[in-house]
């Protein structure tokens, strides 16, 4: 299996919001040796009865098909949608704490502005930025912050949805 045959997939899974359901999904990935690059989960129905799990994974085309089929056979799973099969939107939010003073601090603020990161907290020695965007945009911003005093990151993981009229249910 050469690296070049691997592809990344963003898969949305609509599940019954019951105890243990996340453990089932994660256990499936660890038990069968699949990768989890990114994972988010939150209730999405008004009554809280369903949750949406978004998982970003990597594998050969055959493995990705397996992952989808294995997810689909879990009893509390309503629907599995491979968003990467079509045009879709994926966003992540990060809270980023940068410590520093002087020129580095000013540079961090300039770059944050260029990336449209919002300052949500500040002291004379720190900024906390909020940045939303695609994973690679967040990664790029974090790389820039590293030499400027990057101290802490908290990321939500990817939320994703298909473009156009396609829906998961």
């Amino acid at each position: 299996m050469s690296e070049t045959n691997l592809r990344s997939a963003t898969i949305s899974v609509l599940v019954e919001n019951e105890s243990g359901v996340l453990a089932r999904v994660i256990g499936l990935f660890s038990g069968r040796g699949y990768n989890i690059d990114n994972l988010t989960v939150a209730p999405v129905e008004r009554d809280g009865s369903k949750s949406r799990i978004t998982v970003v994974t990597r594998g050969t085309a055959m493995v990705i098909e397996q992952i989808k089929a294995q997810l689909d056979r879990l009893v509390p799973v309503y629907k599995v949608l491979d968003l990467s099969e079509g045009p879709h939107l994926a966003r992540e939010l990060a809270l980023i704490k940068v410590l520093g003073t002087g020129e580095k601090r000013a540079e961090a603020l300039r770059l944050a502005d260029a990336f449209r990161a919002r300052v949500i907290d500040a002291t004379t020695e720190s900024f906390t930025f909020e940045l939303t965007g695609a994973t690679d945009k967040l990664d790029a911003f974090l790389e820039l912050m590293r030499p400027l005093g990057l101290a802490e990151v908290s990321r939500t993981g990817v939320a994703a949805i298909a473009r156009g009229t396609t829906t998961i249910s």
Partner: protein, 597 residues
């Protein structure tokens, strides 16, 4: 889930509601073992007599017994164990049932809800432990959910690809009053909707390929058995309609009558020469209810290299898992076979008679190798060949209502090769997990379901000791199970691999300090028999069958016999090793193959 259709009725206790739900689900027997957390259920069992309880001697055996019951009847097996060690002891059985797609519901005690998470006495995270060991599991936290969960569990266990389902039952839920509702006539689950009806377009594509095939083969597995006896009947009808050769997996034995000339025998690691070479050389393969297991495919990149592959399976996750196929049919084997037969009859294309005749001529050449051949010396006092013991057992039981279970090892493979099954549900073996200790409790479950049948566990002397305590259960319930031990004083299958792959260094595979099986049978209120040479064999078999009690027949067999043919791990179907009867040179096993199990 919409499982209920009547107004709820409040029962005195959760345990009573539970039993009522079990009855509504058709449960007539439970295999179980009591303990503190499940005492309320045992109390409710005591006060009724519709459901019979079989007290096993170890919880693993309860699960295997329920498997034997399920596999021989087509019904859902039911198990009851206590919390903590009761649950953990059941885990091997659950995984066994998961691997072999056996429908079970395992009821498990749990500490009261308010103690969960406190490391209470005999608390275990049972749903956590059994999540990957079951098709699905539940923890009932509210009395109002209890009956719904039970009905749902049976639906999940028996539909789609069948499997084990566990319900964890905290003690307070079993004690408190609980509402009871009947199951819905047509239960519909919120999220779980397995596809059972095959797509007609895929059926048409399959038939188009099959009609034009020059070298076809049908490869049928346990999915056909799971779909009920009618599916096996239709498999036979379809195969005869086509005139195609057919092979069965270990799990599929009995789905097609072994005596039919179209039958090539079992395929795979210890399958027949003709079955494996037909798989290797075919141009169209129809897989019905099998999963391209590694025991069947051998080395994947050399598996049936020139064929178009059609795969019909109830579980979409089985399709394109290890082998890429050309036509995937998702559906129940019964519905699929019905559709295939109808489409075959409707499609007016004539099959290529000349090509098929050539193919059969080729197969007959392979067949004439007689790859299961062995030689039994007949001089007085000759040591018994294990294959011969199975063959004589088969001959002696023909015409009877016979059910065979096995343990795991060489004896299991010889049983699969030399015992011929004409009907489904007569053969229970641990295929996917390969669990030593499966056979005796499974036979127990079969005998409970079929009290008048002849039920035989074909065993090895090592495996049988893994659940030998169940001799007590046999005695208690007067279950006249026959244990037919091919005693080679070795963990034979381990010894065989050590001989072939590890320079005959027989590390830890000698069965040291064995019990006297005759006395052991007697001490458990059964009968012990022994055959020491070929002169004793038929007499011992006849006696064993005639005795209406549990019997251990200790058959002393050749210690050095190996199972052939054999496709060594990592080899392809056409790189099969034949036995000493055949002088062919086999391939050396590669390092990569050595790493496989």
């Amino acid at each position: 889930m919409d499982h209920t259709n009547t107004a709820p009725e409040l029962m005195n206790s959760g345990a009573e509601a539970l039993l009522r739900a079990l009855k509504a689900q058709g449960v007539d027997v439970i295999f179980g073992y009591p303990g503190g957390a499940v005492l309320p259920i045992y109390d409710a069992i005591f006060q009724q007599n519709e459901i019979r309880h079989i007290l096993v001697r170890h919880e693993q055996a309860a699960v295997h017994a329920a498997e034997g019951y399920a596999r021989s009847t087509g019904k859902v097996g039911c198990v009851l164990v206590t919390s903590g060690p009761g649950a953990t002891n059941a885990v091997t059985g659950l995984v066994d049932a998961l691997m072999d797609s056996i429908p079970l519901v395992c009821l498990c005690g749990q500490v009261p809800t308010h103690l969960i998470g406190n490391d209470a006495f005999q608390e275990a995270d049972t749903t956590g432990i059994t999540r990957p060991a079951t098709k699905h599991n539940y923890l009932v936290k509210q009395s109002g959910d209890l009956v719904r969960v039970v009905h749902e569990a049976f639906l999940v266990a028996r539909t789609g690809r069948p499997g084990p389902v566990l319900i964890d039952l905290p003690k307070d839920i079993l004690i408190a009053p609980a509402p009871y509702e009947e199951p819905a006539a047509q239960p519909v689950h919120r999220s779980y909707r397995p596809q059972t009806a095959p797509d007609p377009r895929r059926i048409a594509e399959a038939v188009a390929l099959l009609k034009r095939a020059e070298r076809p083969v049908i490869y049928a597995g346990g999915g056909v058995i799971n779909a009920g006896p009618e599916a096996s009947r239709l498999l036979t009808e379809f195969t005869r309609l086509t005139g195609f050769p057919i092979t069965n997996t270990l799990m599929g034995l009995g789905a097609f009558p072994a005596s039919d000339p179209l039958f090539l025998g079992m395929l795979g690691m210890h399958g027949t020469y003709e079955a494996n070479l037909a798989m290797h050389g075919c141009d169209v393969m129809l897989n019905l209810g099998a999963r391209f297991d590694d025991r069947v495919t051998g080395r994947l990149n050399a598996f049936s290299p020139n064929s178009k592959k059609i795969h019909a399976d109830i579980d979409p996750a089985n399709v394109n898992k290890t082998v890429q196929v050309d036509v995937a049919i998702i559906g129940d084997a019964l519905a699929t076979l019905k559709a295939l037969i109808a489409a075959w009859k409707q499609d007016s294309t004539k099959t290529d008679k000349a090509a098929l005749a050539n193919w059969w001529a080729q197969i007959d050449v392979w067949r004439s190798k007689n790859s299961l051949r062995f030689t039994q010396p007949r001089d007085k006092g000759s040591i018994i060949k294990p294959q011969y013991a199975i063959e004589r057992l088969y001959q002696a039981t023909r015409g009877r209502e016979t059910y065979i279970t096995t343990e795991v090892g060489q004896h299991q493979m010889w049983a699969a090769q030399h015992f011929k099954f004409e009907k489904p549900n007569r053969w229970m073996t641990s295929g996917g997990l390969g669990t030593m200790g499966y056979g005796l409790p499974a036979a127990m479950g079969v005998q409970v379901a079929h009290p008048d049948a002849l039920v035989i566990d074909i065993a090895g002397e090592a495996s049988i000791l893994m659940n030998i305590q169940e001799m007590g259960t046999l005695a208690q319930y007067r279950l006249p199970v026959k244990i037919f031990i091919l005693n080679n004083q070795y963990m034979g299958m381990v010894r065989q691999w050590q001989e072939l792959l590890h320079g005959s260094r027989y590390s830890q595979s000698y069965s040291e300090a064995l019990p006297d099986f005759v006395k052991l049978a007697e001490s458990f209120h059964g009968v012990g028999l022994r055959a020491e040479s070929v002169d004793d064999l038929d007499r011992v078999i006849a006696e064993m069958i005639a005795i209406d009690k549990p019997v251990i027949a200790d058959i002393c067999v050749d210690q050095k016999e190996n199972v052939f043919p054999m496709i060594p791990s990592g080899a392809a179907h056409n790189e099969m090793l034949l036995g000493p009867e055949h002088k062919d040179e086999g391939p050396a096993v590669t390092n990569e193959g050595m790493a496989l199990v």
